[in-house]
């Protein structure tokens, strides 16, 4: 330890363990990465602004029903059946051709009593069972418009609060520039994941929101590990430029970054493939989040640190304290 403190005495092997001594110059790509990040973020934001999100019933209010038929059922028939009874519904297959997902929009205010809205699913099921007696109800979700609005607000607030808490923690444990880097990287991840859901028009519901919050945790986890090594190396390596310190740190943590991303990805993919249909959106959001989170801890967080002009001095404990301590007899 002590001999290292005198300056850069790391061997190439130590600097780049994964490649066996060949330091990968991650930071060389930083301008391209910056451009890519900006394009990706803008694309996500534009998609969110223009295409919007396919908000689930949790946020919009309305009714969703999942019905199982004994044999495969054409959704068009059911749609027509409901239309002839005065219900405009979106009907689609869910999981298999025997299962149908029926979405009923939140009723126009004023044309129905609140009880009638809550009883909507029962009426629709009656209609379906009159046509096919063996149709079975698997699931109903009814969310009143007001509750939907509250859930939406709470969701936004939860994301802000989580970010705020983490910002404070990182600022206390590291330095404000690290906190800014970590938060920008995380916000970037959130925007990309939400943008992905906007672009693909996949349903964005409460469980997907939970996944987005889990992505915050995961992506930070990844960023913190890289930051931790950068902080350590800034103190250790006296003669390297910040650019070099970044590169060495990223190389040193590379195998860990890949391992952890890989193990987490394995389980989340297992969840996506073998988990139930309800949880698929959740798993997908995490898959995207893990991929983008791994990228962002290198190319957004570290890149930003460099741009903000992080220096060794910022991380080395002030020498004054030591001098004072020494002066005490």
């Amino acid at each position: 330890m002590t001999e290292q403190a005198n300056g850069s005495t790391l061997t190439p092997e130590q600097m780049a363990p994964v490649t066996g001594g060949k330091l990968i110059d991650f930071m060389r790509l930083r301008h391209i990465a910056l451009a890519f990040t900006i394009v990706l973020t803008l694309a996500a934001l534009i998609s969110i602004a223009t295409r919007g999100l396919n908000m689930g019933v949790d946020f919009t209010g309305g009714t969703v029903m999942e019905v199982t038929y004994p044999d495969s059922k054409n959704p068009d028939i059911v749609r027509e059946l409901l239309k002839s009874n005065g219900y405009e519904a979106v009907v689609q297959h869910f999981g298999s051709s025997k299962e149908l997902l029926i979405r009923l929009p939140p009723p126009e205010a004023g044309d129905d009593s609140a009880e009638a809205k809550a009883a909507l699913s029962n009426k629709v099921l009656d209609i379906l069972q009159t046509e096919t007696a063996a149709a079975k109800l698997n699931r109903v979700e009814f969310v009143g418009p007001q509750v939907g609005e509250e859930l939406r607000e709470q969701g936004g607030l939860a994301i802000l609060l989580a970010l705020g808490g983490i910002l404070i923690y990182v600022a206390l444990r590291f330095e404000y520039r690290f906190a800014v880097g970590a938060i920008v990287a995380t916000v970037h991840d959130i925007i990309v994941v939400v943008g992905f859901f906007s672009f693909t028009h996949l349903e964005f519901d409460l469980t997907v929101l939970a996944a987005v919050l889990a992505v915050i945790g995961y992506s930070l986890n990844d960023t913190i590990v890289v930051f931790d090594r950068e902080r350590e190396n800034f103190r250790l390596l006296r003669s390297e430029t910040p650019y070099e310190v970044m590169n060495i740190s990223i190389n040193q943590t590379l195998s860990r970054t890949l391992m952890t991303s890989f193990t987490t990805l394995i389980v989340v993919i297992a969840l996506y493939v073998f988990g139930s249909e309800v949880i698929a959106g959740f798993a997908l959001a995490l898959i995207i989040g893990i991929l983008i989170g791994t990228y962002s801890s290198i190319y957004v967080a570290s890149n930003l640190l460099l741009m903000m002009g992080i220096t060794k001095e910022a991380l080395i404990p002030p020498a004054k304290d030591n001098a004072e301590l020494d002066a005490i007899p």
Binding site: A118, N138, L151, L271
Partner: protein, 620 residues
């Protein structure tokens, strides 16, 4: 170097054993079962169970076992299909005297039960059932309070012989008009003594009259709302018991909402009707001062002291404003058919106070006509200036008018109901009490029993597959150290299940997703440590030093990384409702336990194998 003191090994072994014991009940799958109890809570006869068993056998519905335990009986089945068929059959056989409820009965062996080990509580998305979020109409509660005050003012002033001209309601205030200032100060004295700080008084002097206006104090308003919520929860509990549900959850959420979870309930239409129904009864005297109700209806001029109602055939009738009795005093109600007429009727029993009141009121009016009014409140929602406004609509119908033959006591019957079903529902609602303020459903989530099972199966399958893949991968990549990590990970999963079971947390589908995610992230700690050890070895550190430094230096990184994830989990827990909360809980528990198993657990294994001896090479 790298040796653990004995106590650390013991701590780990004890933790593991305790974890295993408390996680074990989850391995015994719960049985779909039917729970039977008598409505009055009496013990069940063994003979009844035998006859039930015979009936089930006759219908070729096979059951696993039937247990009789005092007032409760439990019949276990192999699958939900049989359970549903059997519950319908049992309900039909036993009739209304018995509560027949669907249940998922834990199949925990006796020796585990003796240790108080129970399986996790399964959320509705895993066991099937219905979740309602109901909102209490606080405006209506306030409305009711104003009506009550209005009545009481009249009573108190009359009792103290204070002369007043009238009591009227203007928006949020009540105004009492007096002839002169003297009577007004007398009235204020009377009323102040009764209400203390409940009401705030103000004197106003418009032309000709001397007014006293009352507004409800803010604290009192809060109390009214709190009380309305509490009363509604109590009433809902009673109604749910009437419905027959095993392990219902009825909880306050926020200031004006109630969560109702009914596991196993399939007939959601009926559940909604019964839970939200606001039906109650009122008894009033028919106006006997010779006013013509038809004239009153056409001219829209209602004579003083009366109110216009309609009978079920639509004809108008004038009743006195004063209510003799409300449904609040009813302690029991049962439906039946009249001996003489064969028409549906409801037999009513009043409590002591109600009986006394009713005896007085009817005693004073023998020979006169009394009306029974059925009151039901529904809601109309309209958009006014972009704001959604709910307006209660009261449907009142005079179901019965009869001459009082004699003083009525605490037991009597009412007739004039349209159908036996109406009689049954009315009896149920009267039995369970009226709601203090109307409720409406703002959120519903229903999960069928089959979907619940599918969710459990797919959830466990993805946990198992994810778990196996990670284990294999770690083993291949880190060899012996991978095995240590795998053992630590297994211990982690066991402890998560044990903690969840011990604290009786509810496992939901997102909760399972949380466990899956934790499995993926838990090995991160081990990966960090192992990579550090490898690095130290490359730097030329001796084997034992490398192990020690690896664990030491990775620790702060692991801490920082986990604390940030924990912050996210806590925020999720604070803001999350239902499904999100479940995810947050398992994630938080998983992070906490993974720190213990991945750091201390794996270190113990490493120390056990490599510690305190000369090692040339690590299998890492």
């Amino acid at each position: 170097m790298n040796r653990y003191p004995l106590w650390k090994y013991l701590l780990l072994i004890v933790t593991l054993i305790v974890g295993l014991i408390y996680a074990l009940p989850n391995l015994y799958p719960s049985d779909p079962s039917v729970q039977i109890s008598q409505r009055q809570g009496n013990d069940l006869e063994p003979a009844l169970m035998q006859s039930l068993e015979k009936t089930l056998n006759e219908h070729q519905l096979s059951f696993k076992s039937s247990e009789l335990n005092g007032p409760n009986a439990l019949i276990r089945f192999d699958d939900t299909e049989t359970q549903l068929e059997a519950s319908d059959l049992i309900r039909e056989t036993l009739g209304r005297e018995y509560v027949v409820a669907l249940n998922l009965a834990p199949a925990t062996p006796a020796w585990l039960q003796a240790l108080n080990a129970q399986p996790m509580y399964l959320g509705l998305d895993l066991r099937g059932g219905v979740h309602f979020l109901m909102e209490v109409d606080m405006e209506a509660a306030k409305e009711k309070a104003f009506e009550r005050y209005e009545d009481e003012f009249r009573d108190y002033l009359r009792n103290d012989k204070v002369e007043y001209l009238g009591v009227s309601r203007n928006g949020e205030t009540l105004t009492i008009k007096f002839k002169d200032a003297e009577q007004r100060s007398a009235g204020l004295k009377t009323l102040n003594a009764k209400y203390f700080n409940e009401l705030q008084w103000q004197e106003q002097d418009p032309a000709e009259t001397y007014d006293l206006t009352a507004t409800i104090a803010p604290e009192q308003l809060q109390d009214i709302q709190k009380l309305a919520l509490q009363q509604n929860i109590t009433t809902l509990r009673k109604r749910v018991n009437e419905l027959g549900v095993a392990e219902p959850v009825i909880q306050q959420q926020g200031l004006n909402r109630i969560v109702v979870q009914l596991p196993g309930v399939q007939d959601t239409a009926r559940a909604k009707e019964i839970l939200g129904a606001t039906a109650t009864l009122e008894f009033r005297m028919v106006d006997d001062t010779g006013n013509d109700p038809i004239v009153a209806e056409q001219s829209k001029r209602i004579p003083l002291g009366t109110q216009l109602f309609h009978e079920s055939n639509g004809s108008p009738i004038l009743l006195k404003r004063r209510v003799m009795l409300t449904g609040d005093y009813i302690t029991d109600a049962s439906s039946g058919f009249g001996n003489d007429t064969g028409a549906p009727e409801v037999n009513i029993v009043l409590n002591g106070k109600g009986g006394e009141r009713f005896r007085q009121a009817t005693g004073a009016n023998v020979g006169k006509l009394m009306a029974v009014i059925f009151i039901e409140t529904t809601y109309d929602e309209r958009e006014v200036n972009g704001e959604k406004v709910r307006k209660p609509v009261k449907h009142q119908e005079v179901i019965n008018v009869a001459r009082i033959q004699d003083e009525l006591g605490s037991r009597f019957r009412i007739t004039g109901l349209d159908s036996p079903k109406e009689a049954r529902d009315l009896a149920l609602l009267l039995r369970a009490g009226a709601l203090a303020a109307p409720l409406y459903i703002v959120e519903e989530r229903t999960i069928g029993p089959n979907l619940g099972q599918t969710n459990i199966d797919s959830g466990f399958k993805s946990i198992l597959i994810g778990f196996t893949l990670v284990m294999v991968f770690m083993l291949v990549y880190y060899r012996l150290f991978g095995l240590f990590a795998d053992l630590a990970l297994s211990m982690n999963v066991i402890i998560i299940f044990a903690v969840m079971s011990m604290l009786q947390f509810t496992l939901t589908l997102p909760g399972m997703a949380g466990i899956v995610l934790t499995i993926g992230m838990a090995v991160d700690a081990n990966v960090l440590i192992y990579e550090r050890i490898k690095e130290e070895l490359r730097n030329g550190a001796p084997v034992q030093t490398a192990i020690n430094r690896g664990y030491d230096q990775a620790f702060s990184t692991i801490m920082d990384a986990n604390v940030t994830t924990l912050i996210a989990a806590l925020v999720l827990f604070m803001f999350g409702t239902g499904p999100i909360k479940g995810f947050a809980i398992t994630l938080a528990i998983g992070i906490a336990t993974s720190m213990f198993t991945a750091i201390i657990g794996s270190r113990a294994l490493v120390n056990l194998v490599y510690g305190g001896r000369k090692v040339e090479k690590l299998s890492i």
